[in-house]
């Protein structure tokens, strides 16, 4: 039990990731696949954010005109959360958004061509065209 509670953030990300993974693989509707992909990526982002955080810590910025105490705490690592994962995830989010954009564009193209987004129906149409 402790094993689960203590590392709840990992469990959450794993569960989310598996949901997304399932959607990406198993769903036949392209948009659902895409949603699954987003969940998948979000899970990873959550994972990264969670590894950066510390209990009772604050953002790593020294206030302007901070005196004695604050300055000393500047070097006290325990008081500051690790900003790096957040920064990484910022980039990852950018990547995610652009992936989403491209994927949406593709889906629109597909829809224009086949008037459906169900993969099996699309394949059906393709096959019929092959035979034609």
């Amino acid at each position: 039990m402790e094993f689960i509670i203590g590392k709840f953030n990992y469990w959450i990300y794993i569960v989310l990731m598996m949901i997304g993974f399932y959607a990406m693989i198993a769903k036949s509707n392209l948009v659902k696949k895409l949603v699954g992909m987003n969940i998948f990526q979000t899970a990873i982002i959550l994972f990264f954010i969670s590894i950066g955080s510390k209990k009772g810590a604050t953002i790593p910025i020294i206030q302007e005109g901070a005196t004695g105490d604050a300055v000393n705490q500047a070097v006290n690592v325990a008081r500051y959360i690790n900003p790096l994962p957040h920064v990484l995830m910022l980039t990852a989010i950018v990547v995610m958004v652009s992936t989403f954009g491209v994927a949406m564009a593709l889906i629109i193209m597909i829809f224009r061509k086949y008037k459906t987004l169900e993969e099996d129906e699309i394949l059906e149409i393709m096959r019929s065209e092959e035979n034609k």
Binding site: L90, V94, F100, G101, I108
Partner: protein
Amino acid sequence: MIGRFDNVIIQTISRLLIPPIQLFALYVIAHGHYSPGGGFQGGCILGASFILMVIAYDIKEAKRMMSEKVNTIFSSLGVIIYSGIGVVCLILSANYLDYGILNKIMPVTIAEARALGIFGVEVGVGITVMAVMVSIFLNLASGGEHEEAEE
């Protein structure tokens, strides 16, 4: 897909909301380098304000204010600003994005030069993000008639 529908309440509210939103976006961009926020977040907010307008009015309205061409130019302009600053550093015989060197061409200390350099980069990023957000949205909303711009 999003057709025009005149709804006074929505239009008025969005009229009222959009300026402060954009102002806030600028604030976020400008303060990115010493408080939470930055080019990307600011850009997102800025883009969101345009998107709100598209929702409130319609695509033609939005296109009138920000045409596809302008959009494309913005999206690449931002990147060029960002990498341009880096190249300036190169020209000043420092490493890429080593803003400290900028004090050679500006009457400021190295620290300030760093601040200004990163600020310039934030602005560039903001512009690009805003433009791309808008173009992605328009692209989807208009079902692809609005040519896709690649991130």
